[in-house]
Structure formats: C-alpha cells, structure tokens
C-alpha cells in the first residue's frame, strides 16, 4: 500500500500592527474603536508604571519578591478586552494588565507581593482567580470552573494564561487533554516570553512553535505577535467565539518577551545578552500603540504628559491603600483555615506565643503559670505590643 498522509495542518501567525508601524487594514480596521484604543493604551501605561513602582518598593524593603510584567502588557489586556465580564480569567502572575482591566484593585496585587494573603481575596463578581505561584497548575482549574458553569446552564467560558515554561508541566498537558476530550470551553493562552527564569524556551519545547502543543489535543491553534494589541485582540476574539459556540477548547501562543528579570530576586544579566533585550525593547507593545495613535492624531505629547500625571497619582494612591491596610493580627493566619476552626486549632491560636504546642496549660502547677505569665509579659513588651 502506498504511504498516505494521516494528518496535515498549518498554523497561522497573526500580526496586525508591527513595530515599524505597518498596519494591516484588512484585519485591523474597526477591530478596536478609537475611544477604546485610548483607554487600552492608558491601561498599559498605568500597568507599566506600577511595575516600576513595585520594583522600587521591593528595593526599598517595602515589598517582598515581585515579578515584573514589563513588556507583556498586550497579552492579557487583549484577552480581558475581548472576553465577557463573566468569563473566567485564570491567570498566573504576569497578567496584571488584564486583571486591572477586569477591575481587580491594584492594591490586591500589591498586597499579595507584600506577603499578605488578603490580596488574594478577589471579589466573586470579577470572575478572576488569585495569583498562582507554582507553575502550570491553574489551567485545570479553568477547565473545572467552566465545566461548573456549563453544568449550571451558563454559557461562560474560561481563558487561562500560562508561560512557555509552564507548558512543560504535566498538569498543562492534562488540562489540554481534559478540556479537549471532555469538551470543556477553555481558551488556552501560552505567553511565550522566551525565558523561564534562566531557562530558554528551546529547553521547554524543541518544536518550532508552542502553538502546536494544542494540535496534539485536537484544538484549533494560532500564533500571534503578543506585543501587538491588535493581534492579541483579534486572536482572542476568534478563539473565544469558536470556544463559546462549540463548547470546545482552543489554543493561542502569544509571542512576547520578558523585558525585566524573572523577579526582583533574579539577575537576568547572568544568562541573557543585552542585545537580545534591546531588540525586544524596540518591539515594545506600548510604544507601538502610541506611535500608531500619534500618527492618527489620536494622541499627542500633551495628552501623554497629562496621562503620566494621572497615572503617577493613581499608582501612588494604590500603594497608599495597600500600605494603609492595617497589619494583620498576629494570629490572622489561623482564621481562614476551615469554615469552622477545629477546637485544637483554637487552642493553638490562643496559646501561640506562650505554651509549647503539645502542652495543656492547665496541667502546669500554679507557680509555673505565674512565671509563664511574667515571661509572656516580657516578650510582649519586647515585641512592642
């Protein structure tokens, strides 16, 4: 028998507004109304500015480790702009721009990185999940969230974000497989930013694209210029319409670049060349939109200056709100452990700075209890309470 073709396909690459200002009228015209484009641009500028603020907060000891989003603003923003407000956005930790567009307060994100769980208490009606720290786990949750919505008769879909590195984790493949085989409407978005800390994307996939990861699960796949807001909007529009109508998953690779270090604890100069970073700086998603708007007389220097003034104030206010939230009570981390705190945990909480944990204080003789109370008083005084 002759050898026949079992399967053949191609993967589209979508680019609408490139870094040189070339604009594809056919794909891009009317895609984003001018008034919206201005707002989207402002959102990216504000997010970028907050990144700088957060970096300085970390360096001055007012914030813990922080992962900058710089350079990747157009990916999650494009999705947030297209998705319905009641579609789930299930993200990792470099999707601030999209989350802010959805209405997540900036202080929530700041608070998380300031080492405070209260930053994760996302309002239910935002349909966003809290920041996920271990890589590649959240996509299964996205599948579950939309499966639940379908079960309840809602036509909500989910859009889940993860990186090129995370697509090496087993859970990523399980999420794709589940969503595809069980027909769960999830738009998978791989942010290929070329670096997983110091691991170059080629160590995470030897294939020519990350988009084709979706192919083996039977999903329609596209690759887009992730630094092109028009392209990310276009791709998410296509994918989300397909997914909503068919009830099946789809896959987008957004090619972007992590302009900053992995986090404030990282030093990317150890493993990547400045020339590479500089080349990507020239493909900046924000500058591209600004140039486009300027050419179309939608934007000028005066508007830019006014925006910067507004953004500085907005972000300073967000920091003030994050830092102004009263410090958690020293036993606050007990409170949300269970719907009802087990009796043993109540006892641990109430004696947390006094007795050894296995100890029942009532077993101690009275003189020992007196001495214990005195030691506690000294310790409390030393602690400044």
């Amino acid at each position: 028998m002759p050898i026949t073709t079992a399967y053949e396909t191609k993967i589209d690459h979508i680019s609408i507004l490139d870094e040189h200002g070339n604009f594809d009228e056919k794909l891009g015209k009317g895609l984003i109304p001018d008034a919206d484009l201005v707002k989207l641009y402002e959102a990216m500028v504000s997010c970028r500015h907050l990144d700088g603020v957060a970096f300085r907060l970390q360096r001055s000891g007012r914030m813990g480790t922080y992962p900058q989003n710089m350079g990747q603003e157009a990916t999650s923003l494009g999705a947030a702009y297209v998705l319905r407000k009641d579609d789930w956005m299930v993200t990792c930790y470099r999707e601030n721009c999209g989350l802010f567009w959805r209405g997540v307060p900036k202080e929530s994100i700041l608070l998380h990185w300031m080492g405070d769980e209260r930053g994760n208490a996302m309002p239910k009606d935002h349909f966003v999940t809290p920041i996920y720290v271990p890589l590649g786990t959240q996509m299964l949750h996205a599948a579950g969230l939309t499966m639940a919505a379908r079960y309840q008769g809602k036509d909500r879909i989910a859009c889940t974000f993860f990186g090129d590195g995370a697509s090496s984790e087993g859970d990523f493949h399980e999420a794709c497989n589940f969503a595809s085989n069980l027909e769960i409407p999830v738009v998978f978005v791989c942010q290929n930013n070329f670096w997983a800390i110091s691991t170059p994307s080629k160590i995470n996939s030897a294939a020519p694209t990350f988009a084709q990861r979706g192919l083996s699960y039977g999903m329609p796949c596209t690759q887009v210029d992730g630094n092109d807001l028009f392209a990310t909007v276009y791709a998410v529009k296509q994918a989300s319409e397909y997914t909503r109508v068919s009830g099946k998953p789809s896959f987008i690779e957004m090619v972007t670049y992590r302009l900053g270090d992995h986090t404030t604890a990282d030093d990317a100069t150890r493993y990547r060349d400045k020339a590479e970073v500089d080349a990507w700086k020239a493909r900046d998603p924000i500058m591209r939109i600004r140039n486009y708007m300027t050419a179309r007389k939608l934007w000028d220097d005066a508007k830019e200056a006014a925006l910067m003034e507004r953004v500085e104030k907005e972000n300073a206010d967000a920091v003030a709100r994050a830092e102004g939230i009263a410090a958690p009570n020293r036993s606050e981390f007990f409170d949300a452990m269970y719907a009802e705190l087990p009796a043993d945990l109540v006892r641990q909480r109430d004696t947390m700075h006094t007795h050894s944990l296995g100890q029942d204080p009532s077993q101690l003789p009275p003189e020992a209890q007196e001495r214990a109370a005195q030691m506690d008083a000294e310790a409390q005084a030393a602690h400044g309470h």
Partner: protein, 322 residues
C-alpha cells in the same frame, strides 16, 4: 580550612565528589548557567560541562522520573527541586517509584540519587517557598531524609548522601544558607547519615531539633540558666534514637523543636519513641515547639508562625515545671 557559608560548603562538596565520581550528574531548573536560584551550583556547569550539569524543562515530576532512570541505569543523579513547595508534582515519582524500587525488585534495581531541596521559611519568600515537608518523606519507607544545620555538617552529610546506595532527600534550610560562616575543611570527610550531633551538653533537659531551628534553640539555651543538652538530629530518617534515648535517660525531660506543623510532624515520632524507651526516666511530658497546624503564612506573619527563641524558652520552663 576555609570559612564558608552553607551554600559554599554544598558547592564544595559537589565539586569534590564530582571530581572523584564521574557518574554524578546534576540536573534541575536554572542550575546550569544561572547556578541555581540560590547559586548552590554556581560555576559547576562551566567546570564540568553541560553533559554533567544541565537545565531541564520546568517539570518536577519529569526531573525526578528522569533521575530515577539515570540512577537505575548506573549513574548517581543529583536533581535539584528549586523550592520545597514545588515537590508536589514530584511526589508521585519520589514516593511511588524512587522509594520502592529496591524493595519491589528485591534489589535488582536501585535508585542511588540525592535530591537537593531548599527548605523552610524565614527569608521573606513568596507563597510555596517556605514550607517544611520533611515528615511526609520520613513517613515514606525507602527514603532517607537529611537536613543539615551548619556548613560543616552540610558538606560531610552531602558527601555521604552522594555515596549512598539509596535515594536521599537532602533538605537545605534556606534561612541559614548565608546566615553564618563556619570553618569547613577542604580535605575529605564524611558525616554518617543516621547519626545525630550533640551540639551542647547538659543535665537538666534535652532539646531535639534539626535544620534552621537549631539556631533558635541555641538562642534559647544561651539565655537560660539551666543546663540544657541540644541534639541536632541531622538526619530525619533513619534517625538516631540511640542518641536521643541516652540524653533523655540522663535529663528526664525533652523538648522537640521543628518548623513543620505540629500534627504528624517528626516531633510526634520522637515523642512516641521517648515514651516507649524512657517512660520510667521521664520527669515531665515531652513538649513540642513547632509550626502551627495552619498553612505557612505569607511573609508578613511568617515570624509569628516559625518557632522562635521565646517559644523554645517557654517550652523549656514548662517542661522543667513538672
């Protein structure tokens, strides 16, 4: 002799053993060019080449599963799991395979490997970067679990792990990665896995601890007027019950200190063994100072979670009140 941090001591142990044993290979996330996020493997790829020190895809199950194959195939892999909080995906490979391979093949296949894992809290790190899961692995038969508390111990214990015929989880307390330096001999020495160290001798009470908590115990001991003996377990499994027993028979009182949560923490096992071995010598119930039975809080409250010198002091006094 050189004055080294714990990070440098581990780095030195890796270099010296890799020079002796060409079957040792290192793998993990960011361990190559970047030298690991804590720089423990700094310079090793340059020195030994990418064939022996290599970056992997971001997949912890894959890292351990591949290492099991490498070990079964005759090498001694040293996989790094970047933070203890990322052990989750690797659990299946560690517990379902690495731990059981020798016994289920009755020795036909073995898994000599050393899994290096930064562990514990106290460094202002993000979520899932500060946990203490050693008891989970001590509870899994077939694994050895080591946790040094000083640069000198780290080097000697790691060399032993790298020569061990069975899988060893080598937990490195990140809180003391660079907290202090210590004289560490350049010359070869080993510290046996399964042997505790008596840090200081005393007659009134025994403290048993391991890892970074040993530092808090020393602070409490220095403030106390009592004569306290401190035993650093060094190895969580197999643990040196003989050393604990001998000490508690002498003092009649014991406090166990660890960062991990109280319930089913390894202190539970120590306390139970003391009951079995030293019941008639005990003057007081064994006291435990541990992390609480809560999720490890984010860093704003981590110092309220972690055992500190005050809580250790309180437990000492409570124990001596009987």
């Amino acid at each position: 002799m050189a004055n080294l941090t714990l990070v440098q001591a581990i780095n030195l142990a890796l270099i010296q053993e890799m020079e002796k044993n060409e079957n040792i290979v290192l793998l993990g996330e960011d361990i190559g060019v970047n030298g690991g996020v804590f720089r423990v493997t700094e310079g090793l790829q340059k020195r030994f080449g990418a064939k022996r020190v290599f970056d992997t895809p971001l997949a912890e199950s894959g890292i351990i599963g591949l290492s099991i194959g490498l070990a079964m195939g005759g090498l001694h892999p040293v996989p790094e799991i970047q933070f203890e909080g990322f052990l989750g995906p690797a659990y299946d490979q560690i517990c379902s395979h690495a731990a059981r391979m020798r016994s289920r093949t009755r020795g036909a296949f073995t898994v000599p490997m050393t899994i290096r894992i930064p562990v514990g809290g106290g460094i202002h790190a993000p979520e899932l970067h500060s946990d203490s899961p050693e008891a989970i692995y001590a509870h899994t038969p077939g694994l050895k679990v080591v946790m040094p508390s000083s640069p000198y111990d780290a080097k000697g214990l790691l060399v032993s792990a790298l020569r061990d015929p069975d899988p060893v989880l080598f937990f490195e307390p990140k809180r003391i990665y660079r907290a202090f330096r210590e004289e560490v001999p350049e010359d070869e020495y080993t510290l046996p896995i399964g042997k505790a160290r008596t840090v200081c001798e005393g007659t009134d009470l025994t403290i048993v601890s391991w890892g970074a908590s040993v530092v808090q115990c020393m602070q409490a001991i220095e403030k106390s007027s009592r004569s306290i003996e401190l035993i650093d377990l060094r190895t969580i499994y197999p643990f040196d019950m003989d050393a604990v027993e001998a000490s508690v028979r002498k003092t009649g009182r014991c406090v166990v200190v660890h960062e991990a949560p109280l319930t089913c923490g390894f202190g539970s096992e120590i306390a139970a063994r003391i009951m079995e071995k030293c019941f008639l010598e005990l003057e007081a119930p064994v006291q435990r100072v541990a992390g609480f039975d809560t999720t490890m809080p984010y860093y704003k409250l981590e110092l309220d979670y972690l055992p500190d010198a005050h809580r250790v002091s309180r437990a000492i006094e409570d124990c001596l009140a009987y």
